[in-house]
Amino acid sequence: MNKYIETGEHNNEPLSSFGGVGGGLVIINYGAGNIKSIQFAFKRLGIDAILTSNIDEICAADKVIFPGVGEASTAMKMLKESGLDKIISTLKQPVLGICLGMQLMCNSTEEGNTKGLGIFDVEVKKFSNKVKVPQMGWNIIKNLQSDLFKGIKENEYMYLVHSFYAEQCKEMIAKTDYEIEYASALQKDNFYGVQFHPEKSSKAGEQILKNFLQL
């Protein structure tokens, strides 16, 4: 599996600048969450993503998706069991953490008092009881500051489901307002993280996934 495979079943513009060299698009499969949805979202864009927990395959990939749904300390435990906790922060290709994936890339999270991978220099906190928790549904992203958001307008709606949030910080590339303003996307070097679910966020979400492939 050295190349992205065009499935030919899509109406999107061809991803012409997206190459056939390297190790393709990999979704890290460490047992956390609904990775099928992410795989399907890329398939709708005409890209076959590989689900794997194999360290060599992850390191050789052109692009890496770090997903996650569920509880932080359990997810971190699963990462450690497969040795992936040591690998992710050493990757040089573009890496996109989604939802809990993004939170685990931060310094720490209040969920289960879990130490994160420390890629993003920020803490993850719990929403207070002044708002309904989890935040569930469509909210806007603003102050967009990355090529990840090429073609995305300010105040675009994204689908979010989460009880914990990353605080505003210097690595913030998008923010969202729910009780307080928080970082709904982060970037440092080749590492990207989004709190929302692009794979479930209609056309705008698809554009973000497409942008990630073209980074």
């Binding site: 609904n34 989890p134 569930m136 679910h197 966020s201 209609s202």
Partner: protein, 251 residues
């Protein structure tokens, strides 16, 4: 600002939608995938699939349908009907369902809520509650509303939240199918009692009913079936009207 969600509900039997859906230009109105894509394109915020003939025998058919919806639809969806085990939920989530909705099985064995939220996270556990108001008091009913219990709605809602439910889908049997509006008094009380999102269900007939359930009922989402399926209330027009009335919606 977090927007209020509009949620069409599709009844499924043997992997096909039933009760009829009346969209124009649809080749196959019984195909859940075709309908789901149509609703996503029309601006629905998420979808609920309710398996009304859920049996062990047709479980495979439903899983196959879930897989096909997940492959082709780019908004979140919930699957409900006849779900009573961790293994079944595992299979549904692996096929790409975002959330599952449990109802009678949660009343019969409340620990199921704890087990599901611990294993898969609260975010994917919707507890559906069907209740009927009898002499000023709301009582939970089972099996699609056919079996009454002595469990009180508000006690049960509090308990499901404590056990780890991520959301409550509340259907008022007094209002369901009447098209006279949602049970806003009970909804508003529910919404202030628990700190998880509440989906209002039962009674949608007009645009004003949606306005009322968000304003008076303090609902976080509103679910309806026939008014959407038969095009009585087009989703885009509904959302434009809600926006005019200062209710935050995604357009």
């Amino acid at each position: 600002m977090l927007t209020k969600r509009i949620v069409p509900c599709l009844d499924i039997k043997n992997g096909r939608t039933v009760k009829g859906v009346n969209f124009v230009n649809l080749i196959d109105a019984g195909d859940p995938v075709v309908l789901a894509k149509q609703y996503a394109a029309l601006g629905a915020d998420e979808l609920v699939f309710l398996d009304i003939a859920a049996t062990l025998e047709n479980r495979g058919t439903t899983l196959d349908m879930v897989l096909k919806v997940a492959e082709q639809v780019n908004i979140p969806f919930t699957v409900g009907g006849g779900i009573s085990s961790v293994e079944h939920v595992d299979a549904l989530l692996k096929c790409g369902a975002d959330k599952v909705s449990i109802n009678s099985s949660a009343v019969k064995r409340p620990d199921l809520i704890n087990e599901l939220s611990q294993k898969f996270g609260s975010q994917c556990v919707v507890v559906a509650i069907d209740a009927k108001q009898i002499n000023e008091e709301w009582f939970v009913h089972l099996a699609g509303g056919t079996i009454p219990t002595d469990i009180k709605l508000f006690d049960w809602a509090k308990e499901v939240e404590e056990r780890g439910a991520g959301e409550i889908l509340f259907t008022s049997m007094n209002h369901d199918g009447t098209k006279t509006g949602f049970a806003n008094e009970a909804l508003s009380r529910l919404s202030s009692l628990v700190n998880i999102p509440i989906i209002a269900s039962g009674g949608a007939g007009t645009v004003q009913h949606f306005v009322d359930t968000f304003k008076k009922g303090k609902a976080d989402a509103a679910l309806a079936a026939s008014v959407f399926h038969f095009g009585e209330i087009p989703i885009l027009e509904l959302k434009q009207e809600l926006k005019k009335r200062n209710i935050p919606v995604r357009i």
